[in-house]
């Protein structure tokens, strides 16, 4: 508790409050713009903030993604164009609500859901943070390596896409991190004879290229455009009505929040899978599942609260263990490394103002976000008046700037473009990108943990099976990796044992 009060002391300093407010504003704008989500938005803003001290910059980032989670839902509700991947499920019932003339209530409900869920989860976060970090202090390289494997396993096995392609994505990311100087022997490797590769490939380049430019290419193909502008004010009457309706569904709300939080905590899975899972679960346990998809408020509140819960949850393993719980958290991890901080259990001891200021700022960001959202909807919809054909070159230029700031070489800008093409191809061919991002951010530490363990054990792999934690984590990682095989097997058995369905009568 004393930690949290200290955190508030940090977060309530004027410069940090301003950073938070600015972050929420920019984050909402980023969320509203369809081709940008919190992941690439945070990555694009990193060059802007690394001139700030770490705790201020981190508070800014927490504002950005709190804002982005809500911003995406605005366009999802009003135009059926989700501004962020985590808002897709919010459009299922949000847009029908707009069609029924209940846009204002939908926007209000979304803001309230995001705020309450975010606050509940920040409380949970506060409760679990210190115990988890203190537990992780007892770990050594073998345990950390095992936990990294759990992270890869979770994102590969639970991602829902083809296991082979997910694994290719992870391995590709790991290969990218081995380019450059080997941290243990100090010799260059995988430079392919190019001096420019000696500095390695930074995660910012990969994220900004694959998620930024890659997403632009994909959006260009689907020719996104917003048809007309719907000016929606959130009227006080609608806000009260939305609150009353939500009070009636508090069970579903709490359930979605908890589902979202734990999905977020799982390494690699963040707000996006959390929102879909919460939608599915809410529909399954609802008394009127047939109403989902027609403008049922529960169908909007469930994914929205899960998305906020998920992103807050994703930060928990990040600040305590150094394992990002979602691709957006991976970008925050990268930012911490740029500031020279090493996320992990030691961060709480060495830099408590960073960790607890960050946690306290999440409460503040939730409040600021709720206030801004209720009163500023018309501002956000005006942003959408910027034609897509102007957004594209602007975002491309911002991506190039982001890549350039990595190590001030033009070569890096070219790399950003190359990763953009890779990202586009991957998205179109169903290769998931999130595993690659997680691998690029965690790869160096994974390899370090692996080799340090082997150095400690003088070459014997048995060290990975010594402690209970390491063994448990390795088993968990194996379960995650093999999960798709398991589900495929179950489906196969089910199909074999059930009788063939009768042909439909014409």
């Amino acid at each position: 508790m004393a930690d949290l009060l200290f955190g508030f002391q940090v977060a309530l300093q004027l410069s940090n409050l301003l950073a938070c407010g600015l972050g929420v504003t920019l984050g909402t704008i980023i969320g509203v713009i369809p081709a940008l989500g919190p992941t690439q938005g945070a990555a694009l803003l990193i060059p802007v903030i690394f001139t700030l001290p770490a705790h201020t910059g981190l508070i800014f980032l927490s504002g950005v993604y709190m804002g982005a989670i809500y911003g995406g839902s605005v366009t999802a509700i009003l135009f059926n164009i989700p501004g962020t991947p985590m808002a897709v499920a919010s459009a299922f019932d949000g847009y029908p609500m707009t069609l029924k003339g209940r846009a204002s209530a939908a926007l209000a409900a979304s803001a309230v859901a995001a705020f309450v869920a975010g606050t509940i989860c920040t409380v949970l976060f506060t409760l679990f943070a210190r115990p988890l970090a203190e537990f992780a202090l007892t770990w050594g390289p073998p345990e950390f390596f095992a936990v990294f494997l759990v992270a890869y396993g979770a994102i590969v096995g639970l991602g829902g896409k083809s296991l082979t392609k997910s694994m290719i994505s992870v391995i590709l990311g790991l290969i990218f991190t081995t380019v450059g100087f080997d941290s243990i022997t100090g010799r260059p490797r995988l430079t392919f004879g190019l001096v420019e590769f000696m500095a390695g490939i930074g995660f910012l380049v990969v994220v900004v290229g694959a998620f930024g430019i890659g997403e632009l290419l994909r959006a260009a193909e689907e020719s996104l455009y917003t048809k007309g502008v719907v000016t929606a004010w959130v009227r006080f009457r609608d806000l009260m009505e939305a609150l009353r309706e939500m009070a009636g569904m508090w069970v579903s709300f709490v359930r979605s929040t908890l589902v979202g939080f734990w999905v977020g905590v799982l390494p690699g899975t963040g707000a996006t899978p959390a929102s879909f899972m919460a939608y599915g679960i809410a529909k399954r346990f609802s008394k009127h599942p047939e109403r989902f998809g027609t403008g049922e408020m529960e169908g909007l509140v469930a994914p929205q609260s899960a998305a906020s819960a998920g992103e807050v949850g994703a930060m928990l393993p990040l600040v305590t263990l150094g394992i990002p719980g979602s691709p957006t958290a991976a970008v925050v991890l990268g930012a911490l490394m740029i500031w020279g901080l090493h996320p992990g259990p030691l961060l709480m001891i060495d830099n408590p103002e960073v960790v607890w200021g960050f946690i306290a700022s999440m409460y503040i960001a939730a409040v600021v976000s709720a206030i801004l959202n209720i009163f500023c909807i018309p501002v956000w919809t005006t942003i959408l008046r910027i034609p897509f054909t102007v957004q594209v070159p602007l975002i491309t230029l911002l991506c190039y700037i982001g890549g350039y700031t990595e190590n001030n070489t033009l070569f890096t800008i070219g790399l950003v473009y190359a990763f953009g093409i890779v990202g586009y191809l991957f998205k179109r061919l169903d290769y998931p990108l999130a595993p690659m991002v997680i691998a690029v951010v965690l790869g160096e530490q994974t390899e370090e943990a692996f080799r340090q363990s082997l150095i400690m054990s003088r070459g014997s792999p048995a060290i990975f099976f010594e402690t209970t934690i390491a063994k448990a984590m390795l088993v968990l990682a194996a379960i995650f990796f093999l999960w798709p095989v398991f589900t495929a097997l179950m489906n196969f058995i089910r199909k074999r044992s059930s009788p063939k369905p009768a042909p439909a009568a014409k």
Partner: protein
């Protein structure tokens, strides 16, 4: 779609082979009881190659079932080509003319040719955005962006 799948899988395969060769050249075995620097890239490359072979086999196995085209319509294809080619063009532009001049030219080409905006909005955007970026990045954040071989922007600045 399946041709694209094959193509990308083959490309990744080639990359994997390159990685394996490079890793072997720095040493991929064990020295004095610990792995050499090439050990992990070597095995990652091997894993990549095997997985790509698997994807190739999968694509060929499902050849008959998956006959969708890569681009659903030619409009989409041309959109992608336009965005990709202009973004690529921006790269040598940045090298020769510097970031700000290059972005002005890039914006001009994109908003006029692709966006089909009218001349006055095109010019406004092509001048406004680079100036805005200059103020934000160079003046406010003190992040220096490349000025290029011929530094057109610097010339304009000194002239002003």
């Amino acid at each position: 779609m399946r041709i694209a799948d094959l193509f990308v899988a083959l490309l990744l395969l080639a990359f994997g082979v390159a990685v394996v060769i490079q890793a072997k050249s720095v040493g991929a075995g064990w020295i004095r009881g610990r792995p050499e620097s090439g050990f992990i890239p070597y095995w990652l490359g091997i894993a990549l190659i095997s997985l790509c072979l698997f994807v190739l086999a999968q694509t060929l196995w499902r050849w008959k079932r998956t006959a969708e085209p890569f681009f659903t319509n030619s409009e989409g294809m041309w959109s992608v080509v336009k965005v990709a080619s202009t973004a690529l063009l921006a790269l040598p532009l940045i090298y020769y003319a510097g970031f700000y001049a290059a972005s002005a030219i890039y914006l001009l080409i994109y908003t006029r040719w692709v966006g089909k905006h009218r001349w006055h909005s095109t010019v406004l955007i092509s001048i406004g955005i680079p100036v805005g970026l200059y103020i934000v990045f160079e003046r406010w954040l003190l992040i220096l962006l490349p000025r290029g071989l011929y530094d057109l922007f610097g010339a304009i600045l000194t002239w002003l």
